[in-house]
Symmetry: C2
Subunit: 404 residues, 2 copies
């Protein structure tokens, strides 16, 4: 009887441990086919150093808490396997797999992690290994191709939409004109920034401008639109992706790069939100502030989407099923069968086609002037943020799962 | 029969509308003594322009939603009444009060708002007015004196504690050494930054350093402590108040002030977190990032403390009761009668003693080395973050109350 090993890799999400939960539950449920369910500590990098644990050791309270614990419970890594599949590191890995009698290898992660699954599944042929390699998608960026969406995006989108709404309510309390610029994660794909549109409650509501990295950002046009918007509204919310750039491809945040230094001459790196805050202040002389939503976007449990958490667990359990059925070199993908009512099934896609590709927001879903998203995007994204999780609490805070 | 008018002023909190809810419910319940319950739009400043509304107009759904709506529902202002009580603006105000047949004036706010209550209650004598002026405390900073704590603090503290914990879980996923600096609101009082200590789950847990503005910040000592901490831990979380300063009183954020400019020569203003991020990078050459928790600290509803929300409503209803009993020139205060079980009663304090004072974290509650808070603080703060609200939801987001 072979064993299963699962790892987590890349930047975490609010539901990356829900996928782990799905893998563990499904893995342990197949005791007739799977011996041990192991977890790599710090992904493939930690595994190379001999770091792993037996996940049957987790008590039921910890298992439940995994579903509402952000960060990678098993630890993560950012480690790229060599392109050359004859590199000795592969021999080392397959030797270690053999030692642990691994038959099923599951990896929860984004683009780079799918690259790992792809390489290992191809190296398996060289090493005449029968191990089955399956990828479980994960990224708040929602930029994996061949899947309707990615676990992690829904919760991040919910955090963004709720925060944009709340910051709007906070900022609109005063009569004086003001601009609040909210910087949202997503360097190359604007999915998460687009989610800010979900916060609108009525026609003409904030945010008045939403800028994605899929289209070029024009600073002069931006200032003109702010001036225009003040004709009908006093408190303006603008949402920008961290990766917005000008027509030549220069990131807007790079406009701060060369001259920003502190009193000791240290170079100051700031985001595009802070840069645009200064630009608006300088050009319009009005009250302006910027807010970088930052890490909370990908780790807030209070705003976790229950739909997202359930789908993340489903992706994990589906990966186990796929491996048991003999699949390898595949990633679990989501297929949406209906928008209303929202319905979803899992499928499998060739991981080699997925890794190192990026899915961007379709240009048809961005308004022609490049400052907003369309109704199609809202129809796509709204089902993904539904439902609030039941959070186990302790001392007034979520009772997160800890690996000591 | 006289009417009641209520206003909101200063920066909002996650429960400022819970206090408004308390005022409205209690006000409408006393229809034998109170005619109309009015709300000033944009505080005393908007009222001077004739802006107010009849709060009986709110439907029950909106009333309920107020309890989980951030921002000042009635709009806010930052407006300081003249020191000279013979200034014509007072005559104008009392004329308008007379027009609306106001008998009870309630003002929900912090320090500056209590200054407004103080001045109006004293001006009432000059104008031979019998209007009763009562203040309802509100501030995430928790810096009002003569009250155990302030509505708004508990929810902000809960947001800070949960976020610090979640950012810690997110950051600790990697094996490499890293420092994450979290900048928290509170320029002069460190209550909210101290709340980061609530996030610790075991001895030696992050945050490893907590810096409040009550004590001087030494940059060299800070760097030495970071180096020392790496001897036992790879992922370090440091929490700093936005208002930390050196021994001469110079704000740490001011170290970035003079030389930070963007490519157009615009002055870049950043916080102390960003400055310390650059300092650590320059001096230690390790992975470091900074996170400014920013506006979400005071407007996140998902992390609202139910205890805080209930106490905020209680402060509002107590203010109505006090006014009906003939009190004036008073602020509702909280008296803690027991820590375990946590018990609280409302009292009244002279608003003239409260305004323009600041309550700081007692030095006895800060460790001698100035880098942490004591068990006494935890005992004080923990009851204030308990309980999660039931949030009316719509389309996957809180169904916030809107004033159109």
């Amino acid at each position: 009887m072979k064993n299963l090993i699962v790892g987590q890799s890349g930047g975490p999400t609010a539901v990356i441990n829900s996928s782990l939960y799905g893998v563990i539950q499904e893995g342990l449920a197949h005791s007739e086919e799977i011996g041990h369910v192991y977890g790599m500590i710090n992904g493939i990098q930690g595994f190379l150093k001999g770091k792993y644990m037996d996940l049957a050791e987790l008590d039921s309270q910890t298992l439940t808490a995994l579903r509402t614990t952000p960060g990678a419970y098993l630890g993560s890594c950012r480690y790229k396997l060599p392109e050359n599949l004859s590199d000795p590191v592969y021999a080392e890995l397959f030797r270690k797999f053999e030692e642990l009698s691994i038959g099923y290898f599951l990896y929860i992660g984004g683009n780079d992690s799918m690259d790992t699954v792809s390489k290992l599944s191809r190296a398996a042929e060289i090493h005449k290994s029968s191990i089955r390699f399956i990828g479980v998608p994960k990224t708040i960026d929602n930029d994996l191709i061949l899947t309707d969406h990615t676990p992690g995006f829904g919760s991040a989108a919910k955090y963004v939409a709720a925060s944009v709404c709340e910051i709007g309510l906070d900022a609109s309390g005063y009569e004086a004109k003001s601009v609040t610029i909210i910087e949202i994660m997503g360097r190359h794909a604007g999915w998460l920034t687009a989610a800010a549109a979900l916060s609108r409650k009525f026609e003409g509501d904030n945010p008045i401008l939403i800028y994605l990295p899929e289209v070029a950002f024009d600073q002069e046009d931006f200032i003109r639109r702010i001036e225009k918007a003040f004709e009908t509204k006093n408190s303006l919310i603008v949402c920008v992706s961290e990766g917005i750039h000008d027509a030549e491809g220069k990131f807007i945040c790079e406009y701060t790069g060369s001259a920003g230094t502190d009193t000791f001459g240290h170079k100051m790196l700031t985001g595009c939100g802070k840069y645009l805050e200064n630009l608006v202040r300088e050009r319009l002389g009005i009250k302006v502030r910027s807010v970088e939503l930052n890490l909370c976007q990908r780790c807030s449990i209070f705003s976790q989407s229950l739909t997202d958490a359930r789908e993340a667990a489903l992706a994990g359990s589906s990966a186990v099923e796929a491996a048991l059925k003999g699949e390898s070199g595949k990633m679990v993908s989501f297929v949406r069968t209906s928008d209303e009512p929202y319905e979803l099934t899992c499928s499998l896609e060739d991981v080699n086609s997925i890794c190192n590709q990026e899915k961007k927001v379709p240009l048809e879903w961005i308004t022609k002037d490049g400052t907003d998203v369309s109704e199609e995007f809202l129809t796509y994204a709204r089902p993904l943020i539904q439902g609030n999780p039941a959070i186990p609490m302790k001392n007034g805070l979520p009772d997160y799962a800890y690996r000591r």
